[in-house]
Amino acid sequence: MTATTARRRSRGLRQWSGQAGWTVLAWAVAIVFFIPVLWMVLTAFKPESAAETWPPKFIFTPTLSEFRLAVTGMGPFLTHSIIATLGSTILVLLLAVPAAYALSVRPVKHWRDGLFFFISTKMLPIVAAIGPLYVIALHAHLLDSILLMIILYTAMNLPLAIWMIRSFMLEVPGELLEAARLDGAGRIREMGSVIMPIISPGLVSTALICVIFAWNELFLAINLTVTNAATLPMFLISSVPQEGLFIAHLCAAATIASIPVVIVGWIAQRSLVRGLSMGAIK
């Protein structure tokens, strides 16, 4: 009797310590991954003189002065980023919803080829065409314009959005579509009153993915913009001067530039997986 109790108790103890060990390990790993981000945010609150010290300072009087400085400098860059991101995301949705419809609900004959054509454009490295792209933009008078960034970011995110929205449309129950058709609903009404209400959460997560990729894009921006359309990543680069102390300033700018997408991603963790897998993972 006592032996079983003892055995049960020791098993309980082992289970408890195993659980505790698991928890500690998981937290330790999470902190290791998070340290660079934490360091960025922490440094952003330092005065410049406290940012470049050995040993690094962990206790200091926090100041908002570097944030203030960063905010005053980033105005136009922020505007360009917002316009390019929102503009391209809206255009992506406008193009992707009908296309996804034509590849799922009432599919065209070669819908498979269509899907693979879109995804294959994602594999063609845009870097390969950057020189000619510059020349084309120059002749079209689009160089250093936000319109150009909207056009290119749309092309960049469109395949992803089509795949993703298609996966949401496939989840619309067939009986609902059937019932709507029997009621004499045409394509427009079928789209508006049956499909859209069901896929609208999916459209939101698709939009979030597009926002993340457009907001963070640097390669096209650095090659094709100078001042009139330079986006936030370009502002970050400009916040690193040739000489002098800059670390706190850089960290403040980097924190502000990253925050929108980090928060959006935190909120949308669930749909993140589906978006990143282009709808393959439910």
């Binding site: 998070f34 981000v37 050995w54 879109f118 000619p132 963070n216 650095i222 960290c251 997986v273």
Partner: protein
Amino acid sequence: MTVIEDLAPPPKVAVERRAANRREAWLRRLPLLPALIYTIVVTQIPFVVTLWYSFQSYFWDQPGGAHFTGLSNYRAVFTNPTFRGSLVRSVVMTATAVIVAMILGVALAVLLDRKFFGRGVVRTLIITPFLVMPAAAALVWATPMLDPNFGLLNYLLAPFGVNHVAWLSTHALGSVIVVMIWQWTPFMTLIVLAGLQSQPADTLEAAKVDGAGAFATFRELTLPHLRPYIELGILLGSIYLVNVFDAVRLMTNGGPGTSTTNLPFYLYQQVNNAFDVGGAAATGVVTVVLTIIVATFALRMFARVFQFEEAR
């Protein structure tokens, strides 16, 4: 009999039906067309122009414009050791980062698959590196983290005998790869975690009842189940990582020397520093051809990984 049928005017119904079918086919195609045309114009035309420029000599800092030079740009590409070097480096960087990130991703996903105190917070912290703007991450790693004199990493590693290492001069390629891994492990974790959570609980329960150990269960049941998820992660990770530019440009600027120059950075340099549009175009064409070879396999993998639900 057949002759008569052929000569006779086709039955009216059939004509109408065929017309209706054609109308239906176009109605189905119509919603697809805007996206299709947009994608063809924006993504394919630059490549056609690239092909054209690859046979031209065109330096945009020199007067005179472009003129035909035949294959000389291609000859330059294949005899240029920097191109070959950056090609090899691209492969090494992508492969190392994808494989290590996947191994870490599987480990982290297993860690996150169990209930423990603060699991939601831990997951949130782990995915954050993927969400931070890559340019911001690269710049924060470059100096606040890796600076030899006051970088945080040297401080954290000091107890292990690390003494003011100038990571970006002595271990440049490794440092860039570490940052790539740091950014992409969360991506792999999320995908593998989704796989783990889709595993039916009853099979695991049955294995436990049969007396299978945790490790044997993982190897015999979980890993095979995870396979499509791992393949998907590797595939998508490779597509994005082979184009890594931000970390290279902002951490090492391709250096020291060309030790971290990958293909995207090499192309960027050709256009921005050498003003060599023709040369960059030829490099681009070669890159695209290589990509198409790899992508053919990748697309086949895609078709297998995405178990296609039949369209209605």
